[in-house]
């Protein structure tokens, strides 16, 4: 780490951090309607968005996991801190894990002030991400509604709204009449099994195209010299005297002083390779998507009581998600119980969807922590850093996680924004309870 820091110091002085994305000057778009036409007529091959490299025998930093967290960490390491001798390893293809399986919802209306500040920074980064990466991520801030079907939910919504407002996040509790105006198709009557009493309305929330975020970060990191290695599975981490010395992969061994665990699903197993035990249990989370229909649903709808959330993509498909499966598993098979339960709950909210057909369902892996907050920062093994335990809220935190983990690696100091999420909180008992705002059903 010390060697890296000195490398960095030299680099940062010349590069200088540029945190807020590049808003100075308009960059020409690399992908545009014009270039589409030109390539269509010329039949030329599209240029590769990121290159394939041979695995080097050593890197300054090795990032395990080529999802949004890993790629963002590599991107901000290169961009903000001038550390580009970085490898991002993925055992499959980039974005093949949680980053390509989530339901692409972005929001910052959490419960704890620490959580709100953290996720709000992420929303801010997402807002300028398309310009920063010069890649259209299609972030649509259509608003986010968390429905309350009982008194206790309504009280939690009110609590969240007040803490959100204190932290400067746009968030308010609204009644059934206003909900009906935002979502005319929703059954807000009192005759249903779980009548809607109100909702937490969060206008900056919305959806984004998650693949574009992964590809944009990959292209941005690659352009700055980061090596992205796909089909490179980590098989071991060399640790001597509680210091990281290298990584063994299916493509060869790498000598490095810094390894960042940015995996989801496999984060316990990767950490165990470095001898670090984690307070994590892995649960599958299933999602499903319907055939496309004309746009009719603007905001994202979440119901904790009914264990369901719905949004409509730009292509018109309805994307449904639910609670995590009721028991731990690394299996990503869908189940009929999920589909049946989901359909019943969705129809309770919007009976008019009864004739719609599901196109497909899938599952991703969620690393649940006891307090529904992530685990970020240093571990007892020097040079082994973690950015894990992302449960069901990892995608929305991708940019800020990359930014803060990069700062931690470059400066050796834990940024204030992620200090509350350290692994040591489980030893001190200083847990960050986010269940009231992070879990779908509670």
């Amino acid at each position: 780490m010390r060697a890296i820091k000195s490398v960095l110091r030299a680099a940062t002085s010349s590069v200088g951090p540029d945190r807020n994305g590049s808003k100075k000057g308009h960059k020409p778009y690399r992908y545009s309607a014009f270039s589409l036409l030109r390539h269509g007529f010329s039949q030329a091959d599209w240029p590769r968005a990121w290159r394939k490299h041979d695995l080097k025998s050593s890197y300054d930093v090795v990032v395990v996991g080529g999802g949004v967290h890993g790629l963002a960490t590599a991107y901000y390491l290169a961009k903000n801190h001038g550390i580009a001798n970085v490898a991002v390893l993925d055992k499959g293809y980039i974005g093949s894990g949680g980053s390509g399986r989530n339901t692409a919802i972005i929001r910052s209306n959490y419960l704890t002030p620490e959580g709100i500040r953290f996720y709000d920074r992420s929303v801010k980064l997402y807002e300028s991400l398309s310009a920063d990466l010069n890649y259209n991520t299609m972030f649509a801030q259509r608003g986010h509604l968390t429905l309350a079907h009982n008194d206790s939910s309504l009280r939690t919504m009110r609590w969240r709204a007040e803490v959100n407002k204190l932290e400067g996040v746009d968030s308010e509790v609204i009644g059934p009449d206003e909900i009906k105006k935002l979502v005319p198709f929703m059954d807000t009557s009192e005759e249903v099994r779980y009548p809607i009493l109100g909702a937490l309305y969060h206008p900056p929330g919305g959806i984004i195209r998650h693949d574009a975020v992964v590809w944009g970060y990959a292209r941005g990191a690659d352009a700055q010299g980061v090596h992205i290695h796909q089909n490179a599975e980590v098989t071991g981490i060399d640790v001597a005297d509680l210091r990281v010395e290298g990584v063994k992969t299916s493509q060869g061994d790498i000598a490095t002083r810094v390894v960042v665990n940015c995996t989801a699903g496999w984060s316990t197993l990767i950490s165990q390779m470095a001898g670090v035990r984690m307070p994590i249990s892995t649960f599958p989370l299933q999602a499903a998507v319907t055939e496309p229909v004309r746009p009719f649903l603007d905001p994202v709808i979440v119901s904790g009581t009914l264990h369901v959330y719905v949004s409509q993509t730009d292509r018109g498909e309805l994307v449904f998600g639910a609670s995590v499966d009721p028991f731990t598993s690394y299996s990503m098979r869908g189940s009929l119980e999920f589909t049946e339960g989901l359909a019943g709950h969705v129809l309770e909210l919007m009976p008019s969807l009864a004739r719609m057909r599901l196109l497909r369902q899938w599952a991703g892996l969620c690393d649940m922590t006891p307090d529904f907050s992530p685990i970020m920062g240093v571990t007892p093994v020097a040079g082994f850093l973690v950015d894990v335990g992302w449960g069901t809220y990892g995608f929305k935190a991708g940019p800020v996680s990359g930014e803060t983990m990069a700062e931690l690696i470059a400066t050796g100091k834990t940024p204030e924004l992620i200090a509350p999420f350290g692994l040591d909180r489980f030893e001190s008992g200083d847990l960050m309870g986010e269940k009231g705002a992070a879990a779908v059903g509670h």
């Binding site: 496999w266 249990s281 028991f327 598993s329 690394y330 299996s331 098979r333 489980f426 030893e427 059903g441």
Partner: protein
């Protein structure tokens, strides 16, 4: 759907059960340091393979049972009553104090 062989009721759909968690030895709270106790509370092996875990047959006989399950395939190979329960000690000790609270439905 996975089937769990309940020692009392025979093979039943997993949706009848509540998942309690990995079986782990509870250290004696009177003779344990804070670190070891917190590790018992929070740290999990979370293996990708065979694991031994406690389930609660909430929609059946309402007894705890211990099953061996493969977390990659969800195959279940054995199930039995919690060991300590077989020895005749009370249920709280048998399940390491990790007793399911019946709130109905999934936890989250």
């Amino acid at each position: 759907m996975i089937l769990l062989p309940c020692p009392y009721c025979g093979p039943r759909n997993a949706s009848e059960f509540r998942y309690v968690g990995e079986v782990s030895e509870r250290p004696d709270p009177n003779e344990t340091g804070v670190e070891e106790w917190r590790a018992y509370l929070y740290a999990r092996n979370n293996p990708a393979g065979w694991t031994t875990e406690t389930w609660f047959h909430s929609a059946g006989c309402r007894q705890h049972l211990v099953a061996e399950r493969h977390t990659m395939t969800n195959e279940v190979r054995t199930s039995r009553l919690p060991e300590a329960q077989l020895r005749g000690v009370n249920e709280e000790q048998a399940t390491g104090g990790n007793v399911a609270v019946d709130g109905g439905g999934a936890t989250y």
